[in-house]
């Protein structure tokens, strides 16, 4: 019993710390006026069309998403601030048990999509985009199982593979 309790406690702590790291990235930079920080919670359903290419036919899936947070920095990739936020982001991805779902490139733009499930159904999807003078982190959180999240990406993947 004691062992189980300790294990559960550890899991909670791990989850809490992981979530905290991502949120603390947003807290750290979001109020810095050199960044743009946008958050959408309840208004997700109105954005169904924006997910059009990425999450096919899945209003249900969208309803499982609980929020979107976006952090944007417009500076040259050499600037110290840019290097700092990119470094912080890389650490979060590495430490936070994220898996890579998609890597895409178009001219000077790179898009990486990472995901993870914590606990039973706490889903986090991270879309990180990099181009010459801009860096974006889009954090989509939701309540869904690993299968449901896989389905999200197979839609995106299927779309990529079926084009061209």
């Amino acid at each position: 019993m004691k062992k189980t309790m300790t294990l559960i406690a550890v899991l909670f702590i791990v989850a809490a710390i992981q979530a905290q790291t991502l949120q603390s990235l947003f807290d750290k930079y979001g109020n810095d006026e050199r960044f743009e920080y946008v958050s959408v919670g309840k208004g997700m359903m109105n954005m169904a069309s924006a997910f059009g290419g990425m999450v096919k036919n899945d209003k249900e899936l969208i309803s499982k998403m609980t929020g979107i947070k976006i952090l944007t920095l417009n500076q040259s990739s050499d600037s110290p601030l840019m290097k700092s936020v990119v470094r912080d982001m890389d650490q979060i991805v590495e430490k936070g048990n994220f898996e890579t779902a998609v890597e895409a490139r178009e001219k000077d733009q790179k898009v990486h999509i990472y995901y993870r499930i914590t606990g039973k159904d706490n889903a986090d999807m991270l879309i990180v985009t990099k181009e010459k003078n801009e860096f974006n982190v889009i954090w989509i959180s939701g309540k869904m199982s690993k299968e449901e999240m896989m389905h999200t990406f197979s839609s995106a993947g299927g779309m990529i593979n079926s084009l061209g």
Binding site: V10, I13, V14, I17, G30, N31, E33, F35, E36, Y37, V38, S39, V40, G41, K42, G43, M47, A50, F51, G52, G53, M54, G67, I68, I70, T72, N74, Q75, V86, M89, D90, V93, E94, K95, F98, E99, T100, A101, V102, E103, A104, R105, E106, K110, V111, H112, I127, V128, T129, K130, N133, E134, I138, M150, F153, M159, I160, N161, L163, G164
Partner: protein, 162 residues
């Protein structure tokens, strides 16, 4: 279809309404057209392409810090073409939901519609990159190898949380 041929003639006479032009465009780009109309698909595709022509280089933006300025002095700040692509609600409304907001240049805008439109624009851009990318989907099972840091990372061992 004769109707479409007539509509096309009307179009080139400059007499079509916006609704008719929309109908014409839908027909021409549908892929199911009369052979003599195929040539016009490039025309409408050209218009679509032009629509996506956005300012790529950072556009300078006029701001005033804390709404104060001395003797018409204005501070010019660099701004991105992406932000410039947003459609915004014209007036700032009363705070609605606390989790729908935007913080731009240190100003908090508690406007749900604005926040949604901003997020929509960003996601649309990501969509566009994904659509035109030719990179195949990485194996979802391949975790460690597929994790590619965007920049060189400091060498550290992940701490165990206890």
């Amino acid at each position: 279809m004769e109707k479409m041929s007539e509509l096309l003639e009307k179009y080139f006479r400059g007499e079509t309404s916006l609704a008719e032009e929309k109908e014409l465009k839908k027909y021409i780009l549908s892929g199911n057209v009369e052979p003599e109309h195929v040539v016009y698909s490039s025309l409408f595709q050209a218009f679509d392409q032009e629509k996506n022509d956005n300012a790529v280089v950072p556009l300078k933006k006029i701001v005033s810090r804390n709404h104060m300025f001395r003797n018409n002095w204005v501070k010019i700040v660099s701004y991105s073409g992406i932000a410039a692509a947003l459609l915004l609600a014209l007036w700032i409304q009363r705070p609605q939901h606390s989790d729908d907001f935007a913080i731009i240049l240190g100003n908090k805008i508690e406007n749900q519609e604005y926040a949604q439109k901003y997020a929509t624009a960003k996601l649309t851009k990501v969509n566009n990159v994904l659509k035109s990318s030719m990179e195949p989907l990485q194996s979802l099972n391949d975790v460690k190898r597929s994790l590619k840091p965007l920049r060189t990372m400091p060498d550290f061992k992940s701490e165990t949380t206890e």
